[in-house]
Amino acid sequence: MTTTINIEPAQALDIYSTMLLIRRFEEATERLYQRGIVRGFLHTYIGEEAIAVGAIPNLREDDYIIGHYRDHGHALARGIDPNKAMAELCGKSTGTSGGKGGSMHIFDAEKHFMGGHAIVGGQFPLAVGMALGIKMKKEKDSVVMCFFGDGAVQEGEFHEAMNLASLWKLPIIFMLENNLYGMGTEVNRSNAGGENIFNAAEPYNIPAVQIDGMDILLVRETVIEGIKKVREGNGPVFIESMAYRYHGHSMADPTNYRANSEVEEQRNRDPIDRFKALCLNEGLLTSEDISRIDEEIDSKIQIAVEFAEQSPEPLLESLYTNIYAAPEA
């Protein structure tokens, strides 16, 4: 597939800004982790920004998003306040879940951002249920966008969900982020079908494509087309975006299962560099625009870090809140 350039300068600015926001946010989280302020498991999205930014902004407010634990990029692309996201990573009361979820469990119900799920494959049945709920309510032609990695497709829940979603023609966009490794296990060592996971959708009668997930405009174009199909009531679609994470699976990962040269080679496909070059070549953005955005993003991240660091810890009493929801009136 080749990319056609069909965006306006304002859209180019949004796309570039959001990808850069994610990149800089993730770099800041790594620094906070090294300082011991962000703890637990931290999985960064660096290298994969084009998928979230190519996909999520094409959704409507009434659509739903659900995904996995590498979720900061998705959250920011959905417009979740970076201050609140950063505070959540720092375990602060001002975080998206008041410090109860952490990096892997970001939720924002108002924005229909339904998590951040850290059991590999666990989000699939929930996605099916949300899509079923949408269909049964018959109110709108909303859709569910479900993100997952290459590691998740060997889980039974994936196959059960693909079958039921197709059988009941549910409105789901299955967004596979294939970054070639499930933790340290290369996809060729886990998937009988090799790198081309999208073939797994065929037996379930789900239309599937595989694209360069580091080409933002291609992701965008493919997702727009996919959402349209799903809204028409034809059941789910499956989009496999080939990408790469530059850093380890988590901060605990020494990445000794792959060569540095491989990482360097993949960096040549960098989604942000490529998009920046394209925008400059095509006159969508000027170098002044780029410098201005760079500064704006740096400042946003600095504010988010300060906000998170200065926010109070959760009250001790909050340990016992929201275990159960209150009954209906």
């Binding site: 666990g122 049945p125 929930l126 949300m130 709920g133 049964m136």
Partner: protein, 325 residues
């Protein structure tokens, strides 16, 4: 009052839910065209249609998780897992997801999902089809665990579960479906976390739930013939747990025995016993007795299967021997 078997009480509860709340739908294996594996939903498909009575593939993880997903966006699904043994296939969705979403989202999400399932042994179905896992689920914060022993309780508790905004394991004992009981004709609800004194007594407290309540009641009758007055407590729900009623009773009788169908190791009777001794140690005239099935997988042959299920005689013997009554 009207008489009804427990199966019909559950069916009535389900019909009420479908009749009064269009956010409610049923989903599970063979609940529609087949009429329900235990015939609870017989005739539902004809009355409510296939959109609301959803036969699913044999894929517990996805249809239980889908119940949670639909609940997350405002539906109020009721999912049926054919037996609690199969719930293990969906355990990730129940324990890691449904039970956690309210807490992890700090109250932004709730999961008003009722998971109906059939529990218990005694049907000669052997090791994989005769288990009771209510105690496992009761140890998970975020879940409700409801274990009715009578038709009246089944209906009244279910009505409360429908208003609850949390995932509920509603475990129906297979051998109770044909048990008959009186049910009030006027509308009533039974709150969660309120145990029932099934039979008042003075000398010993027998705590039980689900299928074991009948055993406890039968034991109490036999003890009565021996001049021993037993108070039988039906917990009705394991989560939330009504310890107050149990402790009050023990303070009066000074003796306690817990009767439970599942294995002794890790059994819920251990939780009850430890709570009693913490709260009423000085009131006890002897150790809190635990009568559980022995730690063996359920066998098929009737005589050895029966030998592992607590019986009234077993309770009577244990009470008279251990308490010197």
């Amino acid at each position: 009052m009207t008489e009804m078997i427990l199966r019909d009480a559950v069916a009535k509860a389900l019909r009420e839910a479908l009749d009064t709340d269009d956010r409610t739908f049923l989903m599970g294996e063979d609940i529609g065209a087949y009429g329900g594996p235990y015939a609870v939903t017989k005739g539902f498909l004809e009355d409510y249609g296939e959109d609301r009575i959803r036969d699913t593939p044999i894929a517990e993880a996805v249809f239980v998780g889908a119940g949670a997903g639909a609940a997350m966006i405002g539906m109020r699904p009721i999912v049926e897992i054919m037996t609690i043994n199969f719930s293990l296939v969906a355990m990730d969705q129940i324990v890691n997801h449904a039970a956690k979403l309210s807490y992890m989202s700090n109250g932004q999400l709730s999961v008003p999902l009722i998971i109906r399932t059939v529990t218990g042994g005694g049907g000669q179905l052997a090791a994989t089809h005769s288990q009771s896992f209510e105690n496992w689920y009761a140890s998970i914060p975020g879940l409700r665990v409801v274990v009715p022993a009578t038709p009246q309780d089944a209906l009244g508790l279910f009505r409360t579960c429908r208003k609850d905004n949390n995932p509920v394991i509603f475990a129906e004992h297979s051998l109770l479906y044909r048990v008959r009981g009186e049910v009030p004709e006027e509308y009533y609800e039974i709150p969660l976390g309120q145990a029932r004194i099934a039979r008042p007594g003075e000398d010993v407290t027998i705590v039980s739930y689900s299928g074991m309540v009948r055993v406890a009641e039968e034991a109490a009758e036999k003890l009565d013939e021996l001049g021993i007055s037993a108070e039988v407590i039906d917990l009705r729900t394991l989560s939330p747990l009504d310890l107050e009623t149990v402790v009050e009773s023990v303070k009066k009788t000074n003796r306690a025995v817990v009767v439970e169908e599942t294995w002794k190791t890790g059994g819920f009777s251990g939780t009850i016993a430890s709570n009693i001794q913490e709260a009423a140690f000085d009131d006890l005239d002897g150790p809190v007795l635990r009568i559980n099935g022995p730690d063996v997988p359920a066998p098929y042959a009737r005589n050895i299967e029966q030998a592992m299920i607590p019986s009234a005689d077993w309770v009577v013997e244990s009470v008279t021997y251990n308490f010197g009554l």
